[in-house]
Subunit: 424 residues, 2 copies
């Protein structure tokens, strides 16, 4: 990748290194840059210590054009980012009267007296340019820093995620967008379930070799493997055509484990498809314990499709709430095709839905047998005017949580495929 | 803090720099080290590019005793951490037959053929020591790396969070704990729900001032705020006494939002209490959509207490499955005290459980009104031989997901308090 700029990130703060806070600003910055076809070259995190901050500033400024710092702009004594930048640049500090008036104004607006410590937030490196922050008291600033003959611009934002994002979007992105506008970057995303990352990598080995100009990226987002095809060039139409061709071939090469394309999660797809068909959905879960219902109801507006569900752990609940015949439970047991079918059909009928998905299996860690090992799950799907389908899967025993996640994803996939298959 | 070792972290992977993945491993490592009284000195993230990885390895190895890398141990062509470490150390690669047998075994266990690319995962730096990974195919390894006369140990773990944590806890923590063992560090953890972090910080302001030798750490683990009191010293008994005293005062100062102490999650506590009392539990969820059931059934062995649950989004499902009187729904509506009570009592009776918890509210983003705004939730709890209790809460509108999480946590807290209150 040829970058217009070399861009790095430096996050500052003890709380990022002792586990109290997960740094999300770096991912935010990376995401925003990658949407412009730019690349974040590296990121670093240092504690609130002067020598380490100054060292990291100089180190990054030596090899980058833009360095984005986050954190250390607060009013307390451990907020020393501005001072460290001034030290690295060999300049004094200046007091920004205008910024100070804004800070005083924010306190006045809230009707509380301003602690004197907030003066610190208006004290900035002498050579910096102030960036007005509409979302908090700390202004951002940009300071030139030349190290070993390399001229770097240091952009300093607060660490609070919404303030960071505000300054990023208001100032930095327009600045880099202008200079990045000649490049084209086209992406296609394939989403798969049920195949290992290594198996997918192998199936795409030939494609990767034959298309050295195309980047193929793999990402495990359990239980999915997400494959992204990235094409770079000068011409939008050509890049899109090429990305479409390569993605189509990749989809064929990977095979059945691809369930869809794009960034839309399974549950969102399902809801969109069923809403268009004016159909409704209910769940009848044993081993997944509410996870399928939770994933569907996570989506805003899901209530137009999702009527409800039953979590039936105990056999008595399967009988009372889903009308599973006791004879089935006493002969073939709860983890069986017959029970799965009865659960789906009972849920569909009792709750009056178009579709009902049922899961019953052994999530472990206990409860497995030779016959019905941990990871064995029966699924059944009852649909409108069609025969109920039942499928057995044996998931690898990656532990209770992951078995439940794999089973829930498989259940969702069954719904999507049946609903879209029926549509065609 | 005086450090026994200088420890740094290096995360490797394009996905960490283009916004696809937020790096949580660094925070995990920092948290684990801080619990041993050790400090993570710095962290860095680089893309999957050989020159940048080798450069970052050498740079960090120059100034640290332990460097922990995460990522780049997979089977695909962009997984090059091992090769880069070998290059930095100036050594060849070795093929680890034993590790390879384990990888083959994992595929055999799953009953699928092993792609040849997985051989890469058994190809490690010649001077490395292998760390067996029980949770995935990629083994970890430790490689000595001497740069400018400084001897650093490079510990390499997979980037997948649960595999990273497994190797961290199995190998690295025992190793550093041994060398850190002369210090005494006692912690007490308070868990709270419903108060903002800043409000809790304010309530503990006097305590912090009066006990300058005690560290008070705040952590937001949504929807909980977790407060940790840390006492350091030479004498275990004295430190424990002091930690207990300060924690007791902190609990009093914070007030009712503290629901418990220690590391045990709410759902685990509930299951333990109900199991001891030989009582059972069911759920009747509207706005939380299965999240309460999911949290409870996440816990292994939960089936001895948890019989099942109903997710009743649609009014017809509330009527059909939970026997909510239609007249209630048509007069006071689904989000009401009466509906919550009827849901809890219907679930308790229909599923034959000791306890039934019900939630009905407005999770948003749509569906709110002046009367019943987004964030309003009614809870009801039916218990054995006692009157059903109902509570109304208005959660701040932090968005659908967070409202659901706050509501689920509150529902769990109601169960715990009623069940333990009844026991006393």
């Amino acid at each position: 990748v040829t970058n217009m700029f070399r861009i790095e990130s430096l996050a500052i703060g003890d709380e990022l290194l002792d586990g109290r806070v997960v740094d999300k600003n770096t991912a935010d910055l990376g995401d925003a840059l990658s949407q412009l076809g730019l690349e974040l070259q590296g990121a670093r995190t240092v504690p609130d210590r002067r020598a380490l901050i100054v060292g990291a500033l100089k180190d990054a400024a030596r090899r980058s054009d833009i360095l984005v710092t986050s954190g250390g702009l607060g009013p307390t004594s451990d907020d020393i980012t501005g001072e460290c930048i001034a030290e690295a640049a060999g300049v004094d500090m200046r007091f920004d009267d205008e910024a100070f008036e804004r800070i005083k104004g924010m306190f006045a607006f809230r009707g509380i007296p301003m602690p004197d410590s907030n003066r610190r937030q208006a004290t900035l490196p002498a050579t910096s340019r102030t960036l007005i922050n509409e979302t908090g008291t700390a202004p951002g600033f940009v300071t030139p820093l030349v190290v070993d003959g390399n001229a770097c611009e240091v952009w300093s934002f607060p660490g609070v995620p919404n303030e960071y994002r505000h300054l990023l979007q208001t100032y930095l992105l327009p600045h880099v967008r202008e200079r990045a506008s000649t490049r084209v970057l086209v992406r296609r995303t394939l989403r798969s379930l049920g195949a290992a990352e290594s198996a997918i990598g192998e199936r795409l080995g030939a494609l990767e070799k034959e298309n050295p100009d195309v980047r193929v990226q793999y990402r495990a987002a359990f239980p999915e493997i997400i494959v992204r095809v990235v094409v770079e060039g000068d011409d939008v139409t050509k890049c899109e055509q090429r990305a479409n061709d390569v993605a189509a071939r990749a989809r064929k090469d990977i095979g059945h484990s691809v369930w869809g394309e794009g960034d839309e999660p399974l549950e969102v797809r399902i809801l969109r498809v069923l809403e268009n068909r004016k159909e409704t959905l209910v769940t009848a879960e044993s081993c997944t314990g509410g996870l399928v219902a939770k994933r569907i109801t996570d989506v805003p507006g899901s209530s137009s499709v999702m009527l409800g569900g039953v979590v039936s752990y105990a056999n008595d609940v399967k009988i009372a709430m889903l009308a599973v015949p006791p004879a089935i439970l006493s002969t073939v047991g709860a983890v069986s095709e017959e029970t799965a079918r009865a659960m789906a059909e009972g849920a569909q009928k009792r709750m009056g839905a178009s579709w009902a998905i049922a899961t019953t299996g052994v999530a472990g860690p206990g409860g497995g047998s030779d016959d019905k090992p941990v990871g064995l799950v029966w699924f059944a799907l009852a649909g409108p005017g069609r025969a109920t389908i039942a499928v057995k899967k044996k998931f690898p025993d990656f532990g209770r949580e992951r078995i439940r996640e794999m089973a829930a994803a498989h259940a969702l996939r069954m719904i999507l495929e049946a609903a879209t298959g029926a549509a065609s």
